[in-house]
Symmetry: C3
Subunit: 310 residues, 3 copies
């Protein structure tokens, strides 16, 4: 594999083999991520974080990943303090700052911003979310959490529960799972079903998909229950939001009778979709999933910046 | 002593012996804090600073402390860019980010936030101020400044001047001084006297307390004059603020006739409570006190993260 | 040369020989700045960046410069989160934070702030822009870009195009070029001519100056074309701004017939003064100029903090 020096703009930039290599490398990062071993793999490397909208945990986990490998970060934490305010184009901003560090992690509110940045930059661009576009490192984390629980990614039934319309993370995850021959169970409020173009892509990729609106049934089918947040900001009307948001909630009764290995994932932050009472359940894997942000991003940075997988 | 891996939520979490050990360790940190020696004690360690309200000098001094010992910091400088805005609970935020670095320094506007954070986190929480609650590292700095001037903490008369009602720092300092057998002289405007419950705690702890409303007399009694800022934001009414704020001001005439070793401390920022003309006085110790923020926090981080006192 | 421990408040603080030494040192920094060599010259050093107004690329390039030499930065990225809001004086703020790190890089909206800071601080102050005052590291970068293109600074004709009235950078650059015997060609809209006091200073310094309002002629004369942004915020009236802003624009036709070595510089951000079509031209040197911010600041920090020129 040669991820060295490459951009990561979308999960589809990676082959199945490359995804597997990132996940294998991320397992080797675990003792460093926990602070049990001190890493120096990225000594002397500088990562530029250009966050044109805030995303605290994504930013902190990238910065922690660099620090755990001995590297440094320089950071724009939000756009209010940049030359964009003086009328500069994103192209110019990226072209300038891409000359400082060894790679850029970009977060931007506009879809397509990462691809534009890649044209402006001689150094690798890692997309950390561009609006309704992509957030490929989140998908790698999701896959790492599944891989850790089952030791494999193939042959699993993954139930996607909640907002399947606007949820960027579920679209990318579904596409990635298609590479590994998963079965998808879709369970969403009628107004938040998977968009037709995404569905057609998945059908073309040959993944098996079933729509199971009945939530308890969709949950019982799952090896992995992937829950998404319903984003209040998507609804003009608070009453409409409340109705949809109240239509599913993962709580202990819902998890009665599921298989012993079944895991619940959520990209976080959650609002009311998963009851805090679930946190103590052996099925709750969403905090572990959040932790995996560090080793997965360590692996990726090490591969892209240094061409090393350990 | 075993501070390693422990939380520091309130000054009363520390025994007299533990306080003395932190102060002794902070003296050993001085050459590193001044940049005369390069430290590597915390090489590979990552400190997360989670500041949900801004506090620039506290944040910078913690970050400098890590840097001087070879460690790294990842920082939330203010809450406007966090998932709390998306409706996430503080519990979830802390539970996620506590998995990234080796400890969290928390600043939060709400009293009790540090204790809540400690429940969410497997890693040590250091309280850097939680509203009307505690700010224990400030108290350690205050004690370090007194210890440095007198070579001891016992048997001193400490005059607390100013806002003794809302001033969180004087409450914690008074409680800590009680462990060392100090005499407290209290001097405040009538509307800003020490609250009864704090007074009762101190009485129970056996510290000698005298109320001396006459400012010149209270100053003459002092080995240490600890001045506090009157916080404008506590007063609904500007006229009331002006009256109280004008009721005391430390200036050169007020310091005439004090003992040669007497020191003036202030947690800073000051507004008008200490005249800039005092800065040149041999009694002025408040800028030195501010500097001690670095070695004291170095000592504390080294003890908590690495279990080392040098 | 002994820059070690010195302030850099204005370009005139440096002699011609000192400027040449900084530029020579910055050339030695190139392999470190590009990430081809890992530097450790500033291992253990801490730089405090105190930005009381935002300036992202200046801040990032200083932070990158420290990181590339193995040093650390602690940063105030903007003033909204400082004790100045609580009524603290700039003097107090600087006096406190100057005790933390080994030097301060100061950005402030008010002219004279850097000089005030230098009085408050025992450690070096590097002025990174104080309102209408000075921004000496930008001038060093401009000179480095010219020096890199021509291998010398003497005997060149430098055309200053655009806002010569408010443009802080062109005033400092003109003063520095006077040390090296350049010829200046001034070309600006009538309302934005070089202020008389600056002009008189330059005349006294013995630099040859010609005013050439005709833009194509001014461009043809240039070995170096230095273009400035017209700052919208300087104009009360949008129509007036539009008229002035439209009066010059560097585009490919304007560059036809210039000498083969002629370079176009701009301190960036640009708005409409240079067409993006110029970016592909061999004359376009403004992105390279932006990159040079890193090695020039590395050289300066290495000289000031460690007294070393490589």
């Amino acid at each position: 594999m040669a991820l060295k020096g490459r951009d990561l703009l979308a999960i589809r930039d990676l082959t199945r083999e490359e995804i597997e290599e990132v996940l294998a490398a991320s397992r080797r990062m675990l003792p460093y991520a926990r602070g049990q071993k001190v890493g120096a793999q990225l000594d002397g490397r500088v990562l530029t974080l250009a966050f044109f909208e805030p995303s605290t945990r994504t930013r902190l986990s990238f910065e922690t990943a660099m620090a755990r490998l001995g590297g440094r970060s320089v950071t724009i934490a939000d756009s209010s303090s940049t030359s964009l305010r003086k009328g500069e184009s994103l192209y110019d901003t990226i072209r300038v700052i891409s000359q400082y560090g060894d790679a850029i992690v970009l977060r931007h509110p506009n879809e397509g911003a990462a691809r534009l940045a890649a044209r402006a930059s001689d150094r690798p661009i890692i997309n950390a979310g561009d609006g309704a576009g992509e957030h490929p490192t989140q998908t790698l984390i999701d896959l790492a959490a599944i891989r850790e629980a089952y030791g494999k990614l193939t042959g699993l039934t993954v139930t996607l529960l909640g907002d399947l319309k606007y949820g960027r993370t579920v679209h990318s995850l579904a596409r990635a799972l298609a590479l590994f021959g998963a079965t998808l169970v879709l369970s969403s409020p009628p107004s938040l079903r998977l968009p037709a173009p995404v569905r057609e892509d998945l059908d073309r990729a040959g993944i098996r998909i079933e729509e199971v609106p009945n939530v308890p049934e969709a949950v019982r089918r799952a090896d992995v229950l992937y829950v998404t947040r319903i984003q209040r900001e998507r609804f003009g009307d608070d009453a409409e939001y409340a109705q949809v948001a109240g239509s599913y909630r993962v709580d202990p009764p819902l998890l009665e009778g599921v298989g012993p290995k079944m895991i619940v994932l959520h990209p976080l932050p959650r609002t009311g979709e998963i009851s805090p009472e679930v946190d103590a359940s052996p099925h709750a894997a969403y905090f572990r999933q959040a932790f995996l942000g560090v080793p997965v991003r360590m692996a990726l940075l090490n591969l892209i910046l240094a061409g090393r997988s350990s």
